[in-house]
């Protein structure tokens, strides 16, 4: 039940490769020292320095996290209650 044959392993690996190829390229080019997303001109942390230096971006990050946490809490509570009432109503 749990032994994967070579072909299923290849399939899994291939799909995961396709899924992660663009993401890997994002990661790699985030260390690029020029703005190009096609040619890697050299390693640098320039963009990360810019990111953490910019108070606008950091403020936006904190606001995003705060909003996401609050809305997750609210929607979990309301959604759970709604799901409970819907499932009970259906039976009745």
């Amino acid at each position: 039940m749990n032994k994967h044959t070579l072909s299923t392993k290849t399939f899994l690996f291939g799909i995961l490769l396709i899924i992660y190829l663009p993401i890997m390229s994002l990661v790699i080019f985030s260390f690029n020292d020029s703005k190009s997303l096609i040619q890697f001109t050299g390693f640098s942390l320039e963009w990360y320095v810019k990111l953490f230096d910019s108070s606008t971006i950091m403020d936006a990050v904190f606001t995003t996290i705060l909003v996401a946490i609050i809305s997750t809490i609210i929607s979990t509570i309301i959604g759970t209650l709604g799901a409970i009432s819907l499932s009970k109503n259906k039976k009745g």
Partner: protein, 280 residues
């Protein structure tokens, strides 16, 4: 007549005011305020004549709906969007079903890891993922950008997890003893798959199809980047609503899409009911 009329709503309200009914109130209030009222406003917009869009007076017009028929570009875009979304859904299903099947057959630890790997990309902004895919295509096959193939690849790439997850959920619920009894009764692996596994997982397949087809048909981002700025129905709505401020036209397109989707959902429910009745 009279007692009949009175007794019916009474029976209904008795059922409503249970404890569970109270629990659902915030949920229902949310649905009304955030979904029903906006849809109602869209309906009003879609019948609103353009000349009066600045004021609150309502002048009834069918102009926005007549534009569907009068502008051939619209019908073409609609057919194109639905066609591309259909192919993308099919490709997602062909890739997603085996993927979900393999994952559901793995060790518990591998399972968790694989599901994590499949869902993790969803944590990254969709815009960014599409842009990243565009970069990869530009590096590997620059001629592809702007073709139908690129758009289909993009839709499949972005929405594949939505196909895998519901199918995986249904497959992992199938009792292991069903596989055993199928082989006890002389079915080989292929027969088990066709006669036992696939019929039992139809509901997952159907919700996967919905979760991939609907957003694919109305995607904004994929045709913009992978289609080299091509227009599909989602872009048409965006253009009408945001660039031109033509809320009436945008709303009428959106409502037409919603209507088509409802028909689609109804058809799927029919199929679903049939299979659910089968295994009960």
């Amino acid at each position: 007549m009279k007692p009949f009329v009175i007794s019916r709503p009474k029976a209904k309200s008795k059922k409503r005011w249970t404890f569970e009914g109270f629990l659902g109130i915030p949920y229902q209030a949310l649905i009304i305020v955030l979904i029903m009222i906006p849809i109602f406003l869209m309906l009003l917009y879609s019948f609103q004549s353009r000349e009066t869009s600045q004021t609150f007076t309502l002048i009834f017009t069918l102009d926005n709906y007549l534009r569907f028929i009068n502008e051939p570009i619209f019908v073409g875009l609609m057919a194109e969007s639905i066609g591309l979304a259909f192919v993308a859904t099919l490709v997602s299903l062909v890739i997603g079903y085996p993927l979900a099947y393999i994952i559901s057959k793995s060790h518990t630890k591998t399972k968790t890891l694989l599901i994590l790997l499949i869902t993790a990309p969803m944590w990254i902004n969709m815009l960014l993922r599409t842009k990243a895919l565009e970069q990869v295509l530009l590096m590997l096959a620059p001629d592809l950008i702007g073709t139908n193939l690129a758009i289909i690849v993009g839709m499949t790439y972005v929405y594949l997890p939505f196909m895998v997850l519901p199918i995986y959920t249904v497959l992992s619920k199938i009792d292991v003893s069903l596989y055993e009894s199928a082989s006890d009764l002389g079915a080989n692996k292929l027969q088990t798959l066709i006669k036992v596994v696939i019929p039992l997982s139809i509901s997952g397949v159907l919700s996967g199809i919905m979760m991939v087809f609907l957003p694919s048909a109305t995607t904004l981002v994929v045709p913009k980047y992978l289609g080299a700025g091509r227009f599909l129905i989602g872009n048409l709505i965006e253009n009408a609503m945001i660039s031109q401020g033509d809320f009436g036209y945008g709303s009428s397109i959106a409502l037409l899409m919603a209507g088509l989707i409802l028909v689609f959902l109804y058809a799927i429910k029919k199929v679903d009911k049939y299979t659910e009745g089968g295994d009960e």
